[in-house]
C-alpha cells in the first residue's frame, strides 16, 4: 500500500527536557523516526524544547523549532508550517498528551492536520485507567481488581473492601510519578494524596497489589493491515512492585516456558488489536510465579523507554518502523534495514541474552530514600 500520498510535510513532536522516565532514549527514537520519514520523501518539521538532543541537529530534520512544548506554540508552528500530518508517538507521554489536547479541542481538524500513528480514542483507552479496565474486561483479558477514584475517601473505602496492600496508579503520568504501594491506611493517605495531585485529571486507579508477581513486558508492533509482531519480550528480575525502569531487565525472558511465553504473546496481540494501534506498543504483565494466572498491568500505546531497550536488544528499529507505519506502510512492505533482503514482518530470534541494569543518582542525592518502589528513581541504565 502506498504511503498516504497526500502527506508531504509532517510535524514531529520531540520529548522535551530529560526527566526521569522520559530521557535520552526518546532522542534516540525521535531521531530514528525523523530519518525514517525523510527516507520516504517526506519533509519533516520538528519541534522540541530541548536543544541538547541529536534530533534537533541541523542535519536531522528539514526544519527545527526549539520552542516550549505547549499547545500555544504548537498552534503557532502549525499555522506557519501548515503540515499535512502530526506525529506525536515518538515523544513520550509529553508529546502524546499534547496531541490529544490539540485533537480533542478540534484544532487539528480545523487546520487540516492529520493525526498520525495513533488515535485519540486508542490513547484514552490505554491511558485512562477506567476505560482501559473496561476494554480489558470486554476482550477477556484479566486486570487486577481495582477502582477509579478522584478523591482520597474513595480510595480508603475501596482499600477497606479489598484489603491491603494496594497500589496507587495516577492516570496520564509518566514514570509512575506520584504513585506507590500502600501497605496500610496511613500509607494510603500519603500515597493517595500524592497520586491525585500528580495526575493532570486528578484520577487514580487503586488496585489490589500483585506485588511479588513476575513482571514481564512485551513490545508489539501492528500495522494498518492488522499484521502484528512481537519485537521481543523482557523479564524484570525485580518483581511487580518495583518500577520497570528501576528493575534489572533481561531480554528475552528467562524463566518462562514456551506455554507461558505464548500465553502472554497471544494476549499482547489481542490487546494491540483491540486498541487498533498502528505503530509500537508496550504491554506489561504480572505473571503468577506459581500458576498460569496473569494480569495486564499497563499498556503504553507508543514508543517508550522499554522500546528503546527492545530495539537495541534485538536490532529491530522500532521507532523507524513505527514512523513508516504511521504514514501508511505495512510491515510486509517495509524492508528489514539489517538484512536489506527480507521484510520488517518477522519476530527477532536472539542468539544472545541482553541485560539492562539501572543506574541511580543516589551518589548525588545522599539523603534520598533509596527504597525502590513503583515510582521510578533511576536516571540512566547500562545494557550488555
Amino acid at each position: 500500500m502506498p504511503v498516504h500520498s497526500h502527506l508531504k510535510k509532517v510535524l514531529v513532536i520531540g520529548s522535551g527536557p530529560i526527566v526521569i522516565g522520559q530521557a535520552a532514549e526518546f532522542d534516540y527514537s525521535g531521531t530514528q523516526a525523523v530519518k525514517s520519514l525523510i527516507e520516504e520523501g517526506i519533509e519533516v518539521v520538528l519541534v522540541n524544547s530541548n536543544p541538547a538532543t541529536i534530533m534537533t541537529d541541523k542535519e536531522t530534520a528539514h526544519k527545527v523549532y526549539i520552542e516550549p512544548l505547549t499547545k500555544e506554540f504548537l498552534l503557532k508552528i502549525i499555522h506557519k508550517e501548515k503540515p499535512d500530518g502530526l506525529l506525536p508517538t515518538l515523544g513520550g507521554q509529553t508529546a502524546l498528551n499534547l496531541a490529544v489536547k490539540l485533537e480533542e479541542e478540534g484544532h487539528l481538524r480545523r487546520l487540516g492536520v492529520q493525526l498520525l500513528g495513533c488515535r485519540v480514542d486508542t490513547i484514552q483507552k490505554a491511558e485512562d485507567r477506567k476505560l482501559f479496565k473496561n476494554l480489558m474486561i470486554e476482550i477477556g483479558e484479566p486486570v487486577p481488581e481495582s477502582r477509579i477514584v478522584n478523591e482520597l475517601s474513595e480510595a480508603l473505602e475501596f482499600a477497606e473492601e479489598i484489603g491491603y496492600p494496594v497500589i496507587v496508579r495516577p492516570a496520564f503520568t509518566l514514570g509512575g510519578t506520584g504513585g506507590g504501594i500502600a501497605k496500610n491506611r496511613d500509607e494510603l493517605i500519603i500515597v493517595g494524596n500524592s497520586g491525585l495531585a500528580a495526575s493532570p485529571i486528578q484520577q487514580c486507579l487503586i488496585e489490589r497489589s500483585i506485588a511479588g508477581y513476575k513482571e514481564i513486558e512485551y513490545e508489539v508492533i501492528r500495522d494498518s493491515h492488522d499484521n502484528c509482531i512481537i519485537v521481543c519480550n523482557m523479564e524484570n528480575i525485580d518483581p511487580v512492585g518495583i518500577h520497570t525502569g528501576d528493575s534489572i531487565v533481561l531480554a528475552p525472558s528467562q524463566t518462562l516456558s514456551d506455554k507461558e511465553y505464548q500465553l502472554l504473546r497471544t494476549s499482547a496481540l489481542k490487546i494491540i488489536r483491540s486498541l487498533k494501534i498502528e505503530g509500537g506498543c508496550n504491554v506489561q504483565y504480572a505473571l503468577d510465579p506459581n500458576s498460569f494466572n496473569y494480569y495486564v498491568i499497563e499498556v503504553n500505546p507508543r514508543v517508550s523507554r522499554s522500546s528503546a531497550l527492545a530495539s537495541k536488544a534485538t536490532g529491530y528499529p522500532i521507532a523507524k518502523i513505527a514512523a513508516k507505519i504511521a504514514i501508511g506502510k505495512t510491515l510486509d512492505e517495509i524492508i528489514n534495514p539489517v538484512t536489506k533482503k527480507t521484510y520488517a514482518c518477522f519476530e527477532p530470534a536472539l542468539d544472545y541474552v541482553v541485560c539492562k541494569i539501572p543506574r541511580w543518582p543516589f551518589d548525588k542525592f545522599i539523603k534520598a530514600n533509596r527504597r525502590l518502589g513503583t515510582q521510578m528513581k533511576a536516571t540512566g541504565e547500562v545494557m550488555a
Binding site: P252, L256, T342
Partner: protein, 357 residues
C-alpha cells in the same frame, strides 16, 4: 565433568561438556540442523520430526525452566543429539520437575554444551545441512570420519509411526489422523474441538481407514524426505476424493506430491518460531512455527491440481496449498504451535467447517 566431542562431516571438531546420556563406547550419528526458537526446547526435543537429526539450538541458554510433565510432543524423542551453548544444571519455573540434563539422560539422548553454537549455525547456513556425530572425547579423527561416512537411513517415518490404530474418543466429528510422526498438539487441537480421533499408521490402507467411517482426514508432520514414502500417494489420492482433508508439514508435502507437484530439499531448512507466512487471500501475515528440511517446489504447482494459498515472505517458499476442486488443503508450518506462535490455530476451525459443509 564428562567431556564429549561433536564431529562434522567436513572434519571440524568441537569439544564440550557432555550433558546427556553417556556414550562411552559408542556414538550417535545424525543430520545437523539448527533451530532458532528461544523457548520450547522440551517440545522440540520430543518432536518425532527430528528423528535421526542433531539439533543445534541457537539461543544460548537452554534448560532455563527445566522440564515438566506436560510439554512433551511425544513420549519417545527420536533425535540423535542436542547441541547447546549453555545448559543450566537446574531450571526455574513452577512446573519444573527435573532438569533438562536429567531428561536427556532418561531418554538416552546424547548432548553437548559449551560449543560455539553461533559458529556452528553459520557453518550450516553456508554449507547446507551435513552429517554430524557425537563421539567420546578420545575418539580419534579417523574413527570419527568412519562414523560420518555411514549412511543415514530413509526409514524414519516407519520408526516413529504408531504400529497400530489408536482411538481417542470424542463426541464430535470422526477424524482420522494419519501418523507420520505426529505431534501431540495436533491431536489435542482436534480433541479440544470435540473430535473423535483415530490415529492410524502411516501406511494404513484405504480399506482400513474407510472402515472407521471417517468424516475428515488429517495428515500429520513427520521426519525425513517425503519421497521416501511414495507408497502412500495413491491412498491420499483416493482419500481426498472421499473426505475433507487437512495436512500439516510432511502431510502437506505428501499432499503436493500426490497431486502432481514436486518437492525439493532446502539448503538448511526452516526451524524456528518466527517465520512470517502471508495468506494471499486475506492479505495478512502470520507468525508461524516451522520445522522442515524439504519444501514444495513453487513452480511445480502450475502443472498440478493445486493452488498456492500462503507463502513465506522471507524466501517465497510455498507455505499453504489448496486443491482446486476438492475440499483439501494443507500448510507447511505448524498451526498447532507447541512450541511457537498460536496465530494460525484457526486452520483447525476451518477444517471442521469444511467437514460440516
Amino acid at each position: 565433568m564428562k567431556r564429549i566431542k561433536l564431529v562434522l562431516e567436513n572434519g571440524d571438531e568441537y569439544s564440550g561438556e557432555s550433558i546427556g546420556v553417556d556414550i562411552d563406547h559408542s556414538y550417535s550419528l545424525g543430520e545437523l540442523v539448527f533451530n532458532t526458537s528461544m523457548t520450547g526446547y522440551q517440545e522440540i526435543l520430543s518432536d518425532p520430526s527430528y528423528c535421526d537429526q542433531m539439533v543445534v539450538m541457537t539461543y544460548p541458554l537452554i534448560g532455563n525452566y527445566g522440564v515438566n510433565k506436560d510439554d512433551f510432543e511425544s513420549l519417545t524423542p527420536a533425535l540423535k543429539g542436542l547441541i547447546v551453548r549453555e545448559c543450566p544444571a537446574e531450571g526455574s519455573n513452577w512446573r519444573n520437575e527435573y532438569s533438562l540434563r536429567e531428561l536427556l539422560k532418561r531418554f538416552k539422548i546424547p548432548g553437548i554444551a559449551g560449543v560455539d553454537t553461533r559458529e556452528l549455525t553459520k557453518k550450516i547456513r553456508n554449507n547446507g545441512v551435513m552429517k554430524a556425530a557425537l563421539v567420546p572425547e578420545n575418539f580419534n579423527s579417523q574413527n570419527a570420519q568412519a562414523v560420518l561416512s555411514k549412511v543415514i537411513g530413509t526409514d524414519q517415518i516407519s520408526r516413529v509411526s504408531t504400529k497400530n490404530p489408536i482411538h481417542f474418543p470424542g463426541s464430535g466429528k470422526r477424524v482420522i489422523l494419519i501418523d507420520f510422526g505426529y505431534k501431540k498438539n495436533i491431536l489435542r487441537s482436534l480433541l479440544v474441538r470435540g473430535c473423535d480421533v483415530v490415529v492410524v499408521p502411516w501406511n494404513a490402507s484405504l480399506e482400513l481407514i474407510q472402515s472407521y467411517r471417517p468424516e475428515g482426514i488429517v495428515m500429520s508432520n513427520g521426519p525425513g524426505n517425503p519421497k521416501d514414502v511414495v507408497e502412500v500417494l495413491p491412498v491420499i489420492r483416493e482419500l481426498q476424493k472421499r473426505y475433507p482433508m487437512f495436512s500439516i508439514c510432511m502431510g502437506h508435502q505428501l499432499f503436493a506430491l500426490a497431486n502432481g507437484a514436486d518437492t525439493e530439499k532446502l539448503k538448511f531448512g526452516h526451524r524456528g518460531g518466527n517465520h512470517p507466512v502471508k495468506d494471499l487471500r486475506l492479505g495478512k501475515v502470520f507468525m508461524s512455527s516451522q520445522n522442515h528440511g524439504y519444501a514444495v517446489t513453487s513452480n511445480s504447482i502450475q502443472n498440478s491440481e493445486l493452488e498456492i494459498t500462503q507463502i513465506n515472505i522471507n524466501d517465497n517458499t510455498v507455505e499453504g496449498l489448496r486443491h482446486k476442486s476438492l475440499p483439501a488443503f494443507s500448510v507447511q508450518y505448524h498451526p498447532e504451535a507447541c512450541p511457537g506462535p498460536e496465530d494460525t490455530g484457526w486452520l483447525f476451525d476451518d477444517f471442521l467447517k469444511t467437514i460440516r459443509n
